[in-house]
Symmetry: C2
Subunit: 423 residues, 2 copies
Amino acid sequence: MLHAGKTLQADVAVIGGGVIGHCIAWEARRSGRSVALIDDAPGQGASWAAAGMLAPVSELHYQEEDLLELMLESSLLWPAFAADLARAGAADPGYLTTPTLAVGADAADRRALMDLRTVQQASGLEVEPLTVREARAKEGLLSPAISCALEIAADHQVDPRKLVASLRGLLAVHEPGAGTAVGGARGGFAVDDRARSLLWENGRVTGVGLAQGRTVQARETIVANGLQAPSLGGLPEGLHLPLRPVYGDILRLAVPRHLRPLVTSTVRGLVRGVPVYIVPRQDGSVVIGATQREDAVSAAEDPVKSDTAVSAGGVYQLLRDAQVLVPAVSELELLECTARARPATPDNAPLLGRVPDVPGLIIATGFFRHGVLLAPAAAAICRALMEGRGDRRWAAMNPSRFSRPKAPGQDLPGVIDHQKESA
Amino acid sequence: MLHAGKTLQADVAVIGGGVIGHCIAWEARRSGRSVALIDDAPGQGASWAAAGMLAPVSELHYQEEDLLELMLESSLLWPAFAADLARAGAADPGYLTTPTLAVGADAADRRALMDLRTVQQASGLEVEPLTVREARAKEGLLSPAISCALEIAADHQVDPRKLVASLRGLLAVHEPGAGTAVGGARGGFAVDDRARSLLWENGRVTGVGLAQGRTVQARETIVANGLQAPSLGGLPEGLHLPLRPVYGDILRLAVPRHLRPLVTSTVRGLVRGVPVYIVPRQDGSVVIGATQREDAVSAAEDPVKSDTAVSAGGVYQLLRDAQVLVPAVSELELLECTARARPATPDNAPLLGRVPDVPGLIIATGFFRHGVLLAPAAAAICRALMEGRGDRRWAAMNPSRFSRPKAPGQDLPGVIDHQKESA
């Protein structure tokens, strides 16, 4: 099957070089597998905009118990994951275990946060109410007009751009020159191309064809390319990946010297029912975000509109609400406005696992707002699946859950339709 | 005086490649003079941020009669200037003669605009009140909640970035290779370097020394480098150029197809006493600006702070106030946030003219908010000065007006101190 100049070979082909793809690739690599990580714009998707909050407690939503269990699992994995990165000599990913402060602006925000606390406590999560005076003793620039503050010690942060760079450094070996097959190598390499279509052979996924004509042959192929996943060619027949883009605007701001540190904790606010967060970075800058837009007019319908278009209304809302919590935000320097689409699913939980009866294929997408937090768990789950150690706890995440069941006697998914891809 | 590889020669050396410097350079060039335009970052200063409103009527301020006369003069020059550019084969500078709509948000804004109209009319300027219904018939996306609207037919616009590119194209001849002296050539050339110090010989300015060691020899040297002017070496002794930076934030936004055109006129609003403008560009985008900040903490005092730092509070204010006038602004795509400092003077009028008793030197800076409007007049005035046709009308702009008078018998300014510069 090897054509000189055409075929690369690895134990694992990971499609998609965001935080999820990179974490999976590194996990596969440190389990002794060779890995090809395929992306023509690594780290430039949702990972580029993510604030990097590792916040299972504040991100708890009503009636998302399965997702909560996965978030808590991944939250427990994070300290060891960060320590392993450091031990492996990776560049600093900006992992910080400073606490999160949940803050309400008015009386209704206070009620909403206190109601949520009841649920958080019922789930065994620690959320500590502070008086406004106590909160302002910790964060001197918080507005005295806030209605409540709750300390959440377990909600931490990492810098997603640094994290991708950190993991990318560990992949280490770059893409071998065109024409080199690296079968058998225990290395990892980055393939600067776009995945076009899965390859099939005898009912099994055997790799992926790339846009520029080459192929990557792999024992396991992992689809981790976010919103692009449904448009990948050669997906198993009948597999429905119902991802929709939920846009988010995010700001990066420099804090002038006389205002440093603006905040020491991550401040997550509810301002008249609308969430906003202020995440302090190690370099003294802050990240402000939280908009969620599902645009009426899609980029496809308006050629003028880009998929990375920053919303003027979104930026306005972020600056308005952040100033309600921390008035000094108005004195910051606006460094960057970014927007990206996150891959959301109907139940807000990821599409993560094997497709029944399709060996060689794992799906890992739909992480929506939780990709950075869930990355170590996703990587561990993918590794376990490759090693035949599937965990029933994560059955609710299975990527076929929105697909119509096959009629009895129907062909194995994909075998017939996609046989041509293995030619 | 020519050293191979060291000296360039031109009839006119223009220091500063913003809109003002480029207009002066072109005017000098089409009067038959050779021109060296010196700037290591042409068009990247205040010109980069300018909205390009040509608005003598709306920019009228109380008790600035001398400035108004200059603005009206330049406003009259603009149509011929734009036509000359087109005739010369220049790239389109985005000159548009669409009207301006002055709009008030509340009753106090209405009173302020109507009071200003009284003064505008006393100066012979045409300002036509419209009903809100009439205004909305012209501009369908104007908020129905505005308090007043006034049409100003004489206030137009140009795109300053395009204008600089347009004029730069006309300079045409690029910097000659190092070592080439172009004495006698009737051309224009751009010198990609920073002016360090004026050169003097026998009480006369004879050109300028550059940061990288070369010199430009010129019969006339014109200082048109905005806020950098006071730090130029070798200025005439006792000449005080009291420029201060007044920062402005400006936004560029894309209008989605279903909202085009957002507005057809330039909309200049007063929103609870604070000015904001929305300038529609030919390509369907809009420019929103008007902040004026004189920062308490200067860039010099805070090493974290950049001179081109965009203020988060400024961006917030612009988006907030623009939405009051045109609510659909919230649906636009934010393309760019830019900030620059404009060179302001104590009386808001430019420093424009010769320094008494200093032949070979013309000052053209301090144009503050009015550089783009005033550029053709500044160019014409500089040309007239070079041709010995000074106009008493512009005596109030003389660049020495903030300098202490010399004691009788004192040396001619600069001759002794700066003689060394001519070595």
